[in-house]
C-alpha cells in the first residue's frame, strides 16, 4: 500500500491497481456505482433527451408562424406572448390551479386535525376521504357529468323538490373543472398533511396547554409553525397536479373558453393544428411557470423552521 496520497489523480497510472481502486473507493467511486446505470439510462432516455428535443423543437417554428408573427427562430415564443388566445391560457390555468391547491391544503388541515384523535368510525372516515385517489380523472369527470350535469341526479332532485326553477350549471364550466381538481387533489393533500401532522409530538401541545395557551394560540404559535414546511410541500405537489389539468378541463370544463388550460392548448397545437413546435413551446412555458411558483413557495419555506418536530427538539 502506497503511503503517499497527495496527488492521486495524475500519478495513479504508475501505482498498483489495488491501490488505485482503494483510493477511488474512498472517494465513493467503486463498482457499486454501476447500480446507478439503469436509473441513469432511464433518466437520459425518458427525460433529458425528450426535454432537450422539445426545447430544440421550440426554435424550429413552422413557416406559417414565422410569416404571421416574425421573430425568426423564436417565432413560437413571439406568438405565445402576443397571441391573447394562447397567452391567456396561463392565467386561465393559474385561476384553476392556485385556488384548487390552496383549497385542498387548507381544508386538509382541520380534517387531519380531527382525524388525529381516536374515535369510532375513524377508519371509515379516512377511507372515504382517500378513496377518490383510486378514481381516475376520466372516471371522476364522467361521475360529475352524471351527478351534477343539467340532467344529473342533483339537478333532478333539486327540481323535484322545487328548490330551484332552472337546473344549476355545475359542469361544462369553470366550476366543473374545480370540482374535479378538488376531488382528485384533496386525497393527496389530506394524506400528506396527516402524515406531517402525526410527526408533531402531541406533548408539545400538552405543554402549551399547561403554559396557558388556548386552542387558537396553541395552533398559531406551536402547531402551525411546525406544520408550515409540510404545508408548503403539500401545496407544491397539489399545485403541480392541478396545473397540468387536462382530461377534466376537456370533459367537464368549457374547453373553448373559461377552462382553456395550457395542457389543452398544447394538445390542440399538436393534434389539431399539426404545429409540433408550438405545442412544445407551450409545454416548455408551462414548465417554466410551474417552476416559478415552486421557486416562490420554496423561497418562503426556506425561512421556516424545518428541524425535528419531536419533543426533544
Amino acid at each position: 500500500m502506497s503511503a503517499t496520497l497527495e496527488k492521486p489523480a495524475d500519478t495513479a497510472a504508475k501505482r498498483s491497481t489495488a491501490s488505485l481502486s482503494h483510493r477511488l473507493a474512498e472517494r465513493g467511486i467503486d463498482a457499486r456505482l454501476w447500480m446507478l446505470l439503469p436509473a441513469l439510462v432511464f433518466i437520459v432516455a425518458l427525460f433529458i433527451y425528450p426535454f432537450a428535443y422539445g426545447i430544440g423543437l421550440t426554435v424550429q417554428p413552422l413557416d406559417r408562424t414565422v410569416d404571421a408573427w416574425g421573430g425568426g427562430i423564436f417565432a413560437n415564443y413571439v406568438q405565445f406572448f402576443n397571441d391573447p388566445f394562447i397567452f391567456d391560457s396561463i392565467w386561465l390555468t393559474m385561476r384553476l390551479a392556485l385556488p384548487a391547491a390552496l383549497f385542498n391544503v387548507l381544508v386538509s388541515i382541520p380534517l387531519a386535525f380531527k382525524l388525529r384523535g381516536k374515535f369510532r368510525g375513524k377508519r371509515l372516515m379516512s377511507t372515504l376521504l382517500v378513496l377518490p385517489i383510486t378514481l381516475g380523472t376520466v372516471l371522476t369527470a364522467q361521475g360529475l357529468l352524471i351527478f351534477a350535469g343539467r340532467q344529473g341526479w342533483l339537478n333532478r332532485f333539486l327540481l323535484d323538490m322545487n328548490l330551484i326553477d332552472q337546473p344549476l350549471q355545475l359542469v361544462n364550466n369553470y366550476l366543473g373543472v374545480m370540482f374535479s381538481l378538488i376531488i382528485s387533489g384533496f386525497p393527496f393533500a389530506f394524506l400528506l398533511v396527516s402524515s406531517y401532522l402525526s410527526g408533531i409530538d402531541p406533548s408539545l401541545e400538552a405543554a402549551a396547554k399547561t403554559l396557558g395557551a388556548n386552542w387558537r394560540q396553541r395552533f398559531i404559535r406551536v402547531t402551525l409553525p411546525l406544520l408550515a414546511p409540510g404545508l408548503a410541500t403539500t401545496f407544491i405537489l397539489t399545485f403541480v397536479l392541478a396545473f397540468s389539468v387536462f382530461p377534466s378541463a376537456r370533459l367537464v370544463g368549457d374547453p373553448g373558453g373559461s377552462t382553456r388550460v395550457m395542457a389543452l392548448m398544447a394538445y390542440r397545437a399538436f393534434g389539431e393544428q399539426q404545429n409540433y413546435s408550438m405545442a412544445s413551446t407551450i409545454a416548455i412555458v408551462m414548465g417554466v411557470v410551474e417552476l416559478l411558483v415552486i421557486a416562490i413557495v420554496l423561497l418562503g419555506r426556506s425561512f421556516l423552521y424545518k428541524g425535528s418536530t419531536g419533543g426533544k427538539g
Binding site: 409530538d201 406533548s203 408539545l204 400538552a206 405543554a207 402549551a208 396547554k209 399547561t210 403554559l211 396557558g212 395557551a213 388556548n214 394560540q217 404559535r221 406551536v222 409553525p225 411546525l226 423552521y305 428541524g307 425535528s308 418536530t309 419531536g310 419533543g311 426533544k312 427538539g313
Partner: protein, 376 residues
C-alpha cells in the same frame, strides 16, 4: 429573588380516580398537600402515577373525585386555566423557538408586558444557569440543558404547583444526580409546591418531603422518606424500597410485636407488620444492608450458606449467598469472601419484617401500620 411561588393554603385531592374503559388506572387517591411541600408519586410503570399527574395538570379529565385548592375546585378548570407548571418526561420544548422564547411562552400567553417578560425570562434562565444559551434552539442543547429549559419554562410562571413527570429518566446517571440536587435547590429557594413522579425510589427518597407509593392505581402507603424506608406498609412497598430479600415463609409463633417464621430451612424471628396468624403463610422482607456477614453461627437469625457471587459496587460489595437449603440471599458486605467460601449471615429481629402474604385487595394493608401513614 424575583421568582417566588404563588401561595395557597392547601391542595386537596379527594378520592381522585381515573378509569379507561372501565379499567381503573387510578383509584381513590386522597392526599392533602401543603404549600411548599415536595411530594413524590412512586411506583413501577403502569401503576397510575403518570395518570395521576396528567389528571392534576388537566390533560386527562377525572372520572372520580375532586381536586381542591383552598376549598375551591380546580378539576373543573381546563388545563390552560389551572396555573400549574408541568415538566414533561421528554421535555416537550418547542423545537422552533429559541430557549428565551420557550421560557417566555407562558408569560406571553398571559399577556405580560414585553419588558417584564424579558426581565423574568432572564431571571429564570439565570436560575437554571442557562443565560448564556438564551438564543439557541432546543436542538442545539444537551439533554441536561434541555431539561433545565423545561424547568425554567415551568417555574417562570410562578405556578401554584409544579408537576414533574419523570424529568430525569432520559439523563445519564451522573447528570441525573446533578439535576436532582438542582431540582431540590430550586424547590427550596423558590418555595415551590411540587409533585414529582418517578419510578426511582432513590430519587424519590432524596427529593421528597413525603412519598406516595402506588400499585395498580391504588395507594399503598403515604409517608415521609424515613417512614417508608424503615417501615414499609406491605411487602410490595418493601420490595420497592430496596428490601431485596423477599422470602415466602410459614408463621410458627406470633407474639405481641414479633413473629417466628420458618421456610427454606431457616427459622427467623422478625417484627410483625400487619396481621399474621400461626400456620398462615407470610412474606419476609430483609434489606441486603441488614444482613451481616460473619463466621460464627450463633445467636438468633443466624443463617449459614455459601457465597456464590460477589459484585464490587464501590465502597462495598453485593454478595449473593446461597443457604444450605438452596435459598438465595442478597447481602451487602464491606469485604468480599471468595466465591465458594462458607459464611454465616445474621440479621437483627427488628430488621426482619414479616408481612401477610396477600396485599389484601388494594391498599387495605394500610390499616395496621406501625408508623402513622402520613398526614392524609
Amino acid at each position: 429573588m424575583g421568582i417566588t411561588a404563588t401561595k395557597f393554603g392547601a391542595l386537596e385531592l379527594v378520592n381522585v380516580g381515573r378509569s379507561f374503559g372501565g379499567q381503573a388506572a387510578l383509584a381513590d387517591l386522597s392526599l392533602t398537600i401543603e404549600a411548599g411541600e415536595f411530594i413524590a408519586l412512586l411506583g413501577p410503570s403502569g401503576c397510575g402515577k403518570s395518570t395521576a399527574l396528567n389528571c392534576l395538570a388537566g390533560l386527562l379529565p377525572l372520572t372520580h373525585g375532586q381536586v381542591l385548592i383552598d376549598g375551591k375546585r380546580v378539576d373543573v378548570l381546563p388545563a390552560e386555566k389551572r396555573d400549574f407548571g408541568m415538566v414533561f418526561q421528554n421535555y416537550a420544548l418547542f423545537p422552533h423557538l429559541s430557549v428565551h422564547k420557550n421560557v417566555a411562552f407562558g408569560l406571553q400567553m398571559r399577556g405580560v408586558p414585553r419588558d417584564e417578560v424579558n426581565k423574568r425570562v432572564t431571571e429564570a434562565l439565570m436560575l437554571v444557569k442557562l443565560d448564556a444559551h438564551a438564543k439557541k434552539l432546543p436542538g442545539q442543547l444537551s439533554g441536561g440543558q434541555q431539561q433545565r429549559v423545561a424547568i425554567a419554562r415551568a417555574i417562570v410562571l410562578e405556578p401554584r404547583l409544579v408537576l414533574m413527570d419523570e424529568p430525569l429518566s432520559n439523563l445519564d446517571a451522573k447528570l441525573r444526580i446533578e439535576m436532582r440536587s438542582e431540582i431540590r435547590r430550586l424547590h427550596q429557594t423558590l418555595g415551590l409546591t411540587t409533585i414529582y413522579v418517578t419510578h426511582d425510589q432513590e430519587e424519590a427518597l432524596s427529593l421528597a418531603d413525603r412519598l406516595v407509593v402506588l400499585r395498580d392505581g391504588h395507594v399503598q402507603q403515604i409517608g415521609t422518606p424515613q417512614e417508608l424506608h424503615d417501615s414499609p406498609a406491605n411487602w410490595h412497598v418493601a420490595d420497592f424500597m430496596g428490601y431485596r430479600n423477599l422470602l415466602d415463609v410459614a408463621v410458627d409463633v406470633v407474639n405481641d410485636t414479633t413473629a417466628t417464621v420458618s421456610g427454606g430451612g431457616m427459622s427467623l424471628v422478625g417484627t410483625r407488620v400487619g396481621s399474621v396468624a400461626p400456620g398462615e403463610s407470610a412474606r419476609v422482607a430483609i434489606r441486603p444492608h441488614d444482613l451481616i456477614v460473619g463466621t460464627s453461627a450463633t445467636g438468633p437469625n443466624a443463617i449459614s450458606g455459601t457465597v456464590i457471587a460477589s459484585e464490587y459496587q464501590g465502597r462495598e460489595f453485593a454478595l449473593e449467598v446461597e443457604t444450605d437449603h438452596g435459598q438465595r440471599l442478597h447481602v451487602t458486605a464491606e469485604t468480599a469472601p471468595a466465591a465458594g467460601s462458607a459464611v454465616t449471615v445474621t440479621v437483627a429481629p427488628e430488621r426482619v419484617l414479616v408481612y401477610p402474604e396477600s396485599l389484601t385487595g388494594h391498599g387495605a394493608a394500610l390499616a395496621p401500620l406501625p408508623v402513622g401513614a402520613g398526614a392524609s
